[in-house]
């Protein structure tokens, strides 16, 4: 055969193969990825708690600031952290990247080495390695890693690997602080007034973690469907564009280049290719700073300032080490508690903590002043002149921890709800990646915190941050608005049994959004006397408020929930049909500040 003949035949074979395989692959002959349906998310049930927290209000005097020379005494422990401002109290407690003389950590017999680690996968690998090392040699320094509280269900995937080396995850029952504004969903300004405009739009973010959780919660609160599949586009849902980290997410919006996907309608793949760009971004500082400075045009739609309980800094270690070092863990917690009081009450202590942070995070271009500025949070004008809020974290003291883990009188274990809420959301959206997650009670044992609670009774502890809501304050800016079809017995303001489940979901949603005021709007259909309807709608909204306040006084202090009655004046559907009437008998819940 001549070379020319070979070439011709070769080309024919290639063309036939390409089209043949293409046909086979895109037909139903081979297994296909299951089409993903877009989902309207709900949240979950919570433990019932009642009563009220009494907090002693005692000022803490300024203690001596820690020295700068390492002590090189005490039990060695390693603490891996991201560059995250919620760790201010931990920084001050340690006095430097390694425990210094005169620090609270040294006073409690711990020699702590703080190491920056931004990569979650690396943290997981280090935990497994540490567990294996501890198995071989029990005197190996223990490893603690800090992650976002709402990201722990995803992180708990490491449990399988830890079990192979004969141990499991264990949470340190103490949190040093939380994100308070720095994690946010940024979007076009019009979304603030009309969230429905986000339908058919795309949010860039690092998927399956805290940033996405903010966006997911906002969508759920506004009754918007979300499309979990990052390779398809659903015009009737909010879509996500996956980025490899939170800074890349911001970059996707700044660069603004389209990506190609397949269009999906009603969960059916249409095969049509469509270009999408990032219309909004969920990210955290400095991602938000980059957007404001390099492109602008997006405002903060909702942030961890609104969902103020979503992102506590949670520390995890291995059970093997935790069980063998109860005394050191207690020492660690005490040091954090002491430093937490200092950071919260004294600017000099906070400034010192920021300088130590700069040392630990070791970014040459970010000094202590930078970390301090974004710890407090700032408002700056972006490139287009829009004012954007950037940064914002909070340090915790001991009382804040009692509130977080629900150890005050009548308190709710807030962290337990956060963990379960976001664990369920992620595993509902991504059943393949996260088929299940470790139940919290297998990792969390509060006995050490309870011991401290009895020990501290009556001693000087600074008060926890309490949400202050002025009762006469109207909501000036809506964060979300959603109609809840809470069923009432006809003509009465008492709930039907089915309403209980709806109320529990509402309760969870509101607990996570701890910093927002709640307005409950009662509506009725047009059956009967307008005056009576007015009264009935008020009574119904009132019952919702009472139910919430009874369930948790700590989450619903006086003045947080306001009641509005509209009678039959604002129907959403025609009152001509029974279904329309049912739609109009509703309670709308508006969250805002």
């Amino acid at each position: 055969m001549t070379t020319r003949g070979k070439i011709v035949i070769g080309l024919l074979i290639v063309v036939a193969l390409y089209f043949g395989i293409n046909k086979v692959v895109s037909s139903g002959a081979v297994f296909k990825k299951a089409d993903t349906q877009s989902v309207l998310l709900n949240s979950i049930e919570l433990p019932i708690a009642a009563g009220s927290g009494n907090r002693a209000n005692i000022a803490v005097p300024l203690a001596d600031l820690p020295g700068t020379t390492p002590t090189e005494k005490g039990t060695p422990i390693t603490w891996e952290v991201m560059a995250w401002n919620s760790q201010m109290a931990g920084m001050l407690a340690n006095g430097g990247p390694r425990t210094t003389q005169g620090s609270a950590m040294a006073a409690n017999g711990v020699d702590l080495q703080i190491v920056r680690q931004d990569d979650v996968a690396k943290m997981q690998a280090d935990l497994v390695k540490n567990a294996a090392d501890l198995d071989a040699n029990p005197s190996t320094p223990g490893l603690i890693v800090s992650i976002m509280g709402d990201g722990l269900p995803g992180f708990s995937a490491v449990q399988e690997q830890l079990k192979k080396v004969g141990t499991q995850l264990q949470i340190i029952p103490y949190s040093v602080g939380k994100s308070f504004g720095e994690d946010k969903l940024m979007g076009p300004k019009e979304w603030l007034d009309n969230p429905k405009l986000a339908v058919g739009k795309t949010i860039a973010c690092y998927l399956r973690d805290g940033d996405q959780n903010i966006a997911l919660k906002w969508c759920a609160d506004n009754g918007l469907k979300v499309n979990p599949d990052e390779t398809t586009y659903d015009p009737e849902a909010v879509n996500f564009m996956s980025a490899s980290d939170f800074l890349v997410a911001a970059e996707k919006y700044i660069v603004g280049k389209p990506e190609q996907r397949t269009k999906v309608v009603n969960g059916k793949n249409t095969g049509v290719k469509i270009d999408v760009v990032a219309d909004a971004v969920a990210t955290w500082t400095p991602g938000d700073v980059n957007i404001a400075k390099q492109k602008g045009g997006l405002v903060s739609i909702v942030s961890t300032k609104d969902y103020s309980n979503q992102m506590p800094n949670i520390m995890v270690t291995t059970k093997r080490w935790y069980d063998a070092h109860q005394k050191e863990v207690a020492g660690l917690m005490t040091a954090f508690a002491v430093a937490g009081d200092q950071v919260k009450s004294h600017p000099e202590a906070l400034k010192r903590a920021a300088d130590i942070s700069a040392d630990v995070y070791a970014d040459k271009d970010k000094n202590g002043a930078y970390w301090l500025k974004y710890y407090k949070g700032v408002s700056e004008a972006d490139r287009t002149g829009e004012v954007v809020e950037l940064g914002g974290s909070k340090a915790f003291n001991f009382a804040d921890n009692l509130a977080l883990f629900g150890l005050e009188e009548g308190g709710t274990n807030i962290y337990a709800s956060v963990y379960k809420t976001f664990g369920d959301v992620q595993s509902k959206l991504y059943p393949k990646e996260l088929p299940s997650y470790v139940p919290l009670d297998q990792m969390l044992d509060l006995s050490l915190l309870k011991n401290m609670q009895t020990q501290y009774k009556g001693k000087a502890v600074a008060p926890a941050d309490q949400q202050k809501f002025a009762a006469d304050d109207e909501i000036r800016r809506n964060v979300s608005k959603r109609a809840w079809n809470i069923e009432f017995n006809t003509g009465q303001s008492s709930f039907t049994p089915a309403a209980e489940q709806q109320l529990n979901q509402l309760f969870d949603d509101l607990v996570v959004a701890g910093n927002l005021k709640v307005a409950v709007h009662g509506h009725t259909d047009n059956v009967g006397d307008p005056q009576k309807n007015q009264q009935l709608s008020e009574d119904r909204a009132m019952s919702v408020r009472e139910w919430l306040q009874q369930k948790s006084t700590s989450a619903f202090p006086e003045g947080r929930v306001q009641v509005y009655a509209h009678g039959a004046t604002e129907p959403v559907e025609s009152n001509a049909t029974p279904t329309g009437k049912a739609k109009n008998r509703r309670v709308e819940v508006v969250l805002g500040n």
């Binding site: 070979k6 692959v25 990825k33 280049k257 389209p258 996907r261």
Partner: protein, 258 residues
Amino acid sequence: MKNLFIPNAQPRQSVFLTMVACQGLVLLVLWLLYPLKLFPTLGEVLTAFQDLVRTQGLIQELWASLVTAIQAVGIATVLALFISYLTALPFFRPLAYAATKLRYLTLTGLTFFMALMLSSGHQVKLSVLVFGATVYFVTGMTSVILTTTQEEMDHARTLGMSEWRSFFEVIVLGKLDDMLEVVRQNFAIIWTMITLVETLYQSEGGIGLLLYKQNRYLHLAGVVSIQLVILAVGALQDYLFVLLRRVFFPYSSLSTAR
């Protein structure tokens, strides 16, 4: 049998293949009987593989990545051949030299500039792959051209060919089989990079995205099974290149030792 252990021996093909099969089998049996503590067992990997094929569209994703890879290799080969052949003219030599040195660049940060210059995610994906492959191809191809001996050139000239004609006969046609070998050796670069670019632009899916998701949740069995699939595809690819060489350049192995 005994010439399996004699230096430079050429055992019969059937004997050799049986030996290879046995070696592979021993490896599998070892994996089955002595599972490592943190490494997934054979059973887990097979289960993960089944699940990936059945419900997560491994085959489609693999095909999508493969098409992208072949596209990129096609473009890179043409580009690299062009650059390498240009080195015949001294004026263009610095260009080829520069191209070979570009393989030391890391892609981190470069993708951002590419994104600014190009109009869509898909183009960035393709450009990154083409760039990565081209610089390696040029390196290999220029060194192939440099192995041209004085004798080969003089041979063409004594046949009365012009300088251009001798270049065409000796370097372009005469070295094509070696060029194919260069492409085969460096095709692997594409697979290394494809997983990287698919995590940068996840909208289009691909096997890289699948791998990324498995790794994100530490589904190590899934990770291993995808890696094995990539390995198998790579082996098949190499075999196809050998076949191509045999069909189109039947005399190119005349001088290899037997």
